[in-house]
């Protein structure tokens, strides 16, 4: 069962990328059924960051993350096809899945192309980390407001 919950958390992360995710507070219990609330929160912070910051940049960070860490094996053929589609503008972030990105090792240039503009990955990553600390590492962390819209 643990592996299936692990997969459910990844499926949720994928939904964050495609903007089809439920708000974190709605799925927190389901995604921590194996007791790994910390792992679930690592994804929840991306969902919350999408509400607070530029959602496309947060999605771009997720694309980078999935393309580098979802598979330990590099797949050059898969990468070639995906990179060509990105450079020709035939694929958008809402078309992508973790499986599609796994092993493709995209560069930031490809991420910028998908997002539609350049950004500073280091700074955006720092913002996510700060948000995580604000939400989950402090007892006085503000609760996630459920009324904020998820539509992008």
């Amino acid at each position: 069962m643990e592996i299936r919950i692990e997969l459910a958390r990844l499926a949720y992360a994928e939904n964050i990328l495609r903007c089809t995710n439920e708000p974190p507070e709605m799925v927190e219990d389901l995604l921590s059924l194996d007791g790994e609330l910390e792992k679930a929160r690592r994804w929840f912070v991306f969902a919350e960051a999408k509400r607070r910051f530029d959602p496309n940049i947060v999605r771009g960070l997720l694309v980078y993350l999935f393309s580098h860490y979802a598979s330990a094996e590099f797949d050059p053929r898969k990468r070639e096809q995906l990179v060509r589609e990105i450079m020709e503008g035939r694929v958008r972030m809402r078309d992508l899945s973790i499986e599609r990105l796994a092993g493709t090792r995209l560069s930031w240039e490809h991420i910028f192309r998908l997002v539609g503009r350049q950004f500073n990955p280091t700074r955006e990553k720092e913002k996510i980390k700060e948000l995580y600390a604000q939400l989950y590492s402090s007892a006085s962390a503000p609760a996630i407001s459920p009324e904020v819209s998820y539509g992008h």
Binding site: N15, L33, K78
Partner: protein, 187 residues
């Protein structure tokens, strides 16, 4: 366009900073499945036609209610969503090969369907064609405008005209027509 992988393309700093998320994928491994998505479902997945929920832009059906989530956790899917297929293929060697084959044929089909760029003529050829067309146009204009006003070929000198210029109304070219009539007594 360079699509080859080069480790130099990866900025080490950002790569390092995102590395802490790598452990979120650590539990991934190949699983044994008794149930696999059909060819039709996989084709829809490869063509980006499979949705996460009922209707584009809706929230994923996997997390919509507890019952749907239980079905996902128990691997008893009644209907495959995009996330369901993605997670299945990520952990199923058999379906990874099926999807790779479908992607290859999909890619081939897209390659055939893509319009090929027309071959443009070289610039010297285009220059020659342009000059030829201009010369032809100039010649046609000259014939149309100059020929009717020119006197017929004559052995006469202009100082000793043997033709009379006569202006008449013309139905063909505006209101007037210039004609030349032989001077009386010259022929």
């Amino acid at each position: 366009m360079d699509t080859n992988y080069s480790p130099q393309q990866l900025p080490d700093l950002d790569h390092e900073q995102l590395a802490e998320f790598a452990e979120l994928f650590a539990g991934l491994r190949q699983l044994e499945y008794s149930d696999h998505p059909s060819d039709e479902v996989l084709r829809a997945y490869v063509a980006n036609r499979l949705l996460d929920g009922p209707g584009a832009g809706r929230v994923g059906a996997t997390f919509r209610d507890e019952r749907a989530f239980q079905r996902f956790v128990q691997g008893q899917l009644t209907r495959w969503t995009r996330s369901d297929v993605s997670m299945h293929v990520l952990t199923c060697g058999v379906c990874q090969r099926r999807v790779a084959q479908l992607r290859a044929s999909h890619w081939q089909w897209l390659g055939l369907a893509r319009p090929r760029p027309r071959e443009e003529p070289s610039w010297p050829r285009r220059l020659a064609l342009g000059a030829l067309a201009s010369a032809a146009a100039a010649a046609i204009i000259a014939v149309i405008w100059l020929w009717p006003a020119s006197p017929p070929t004559s052995p006469c000198w202009i100082e000793d005209p043997c033709w009379q210029q006569v202006v008449q109304s013309s139905p063909l070219k505006g209101d007037i027509m210039v004609v030349y009539r032989a001077s009386p007594g010259r022929f």
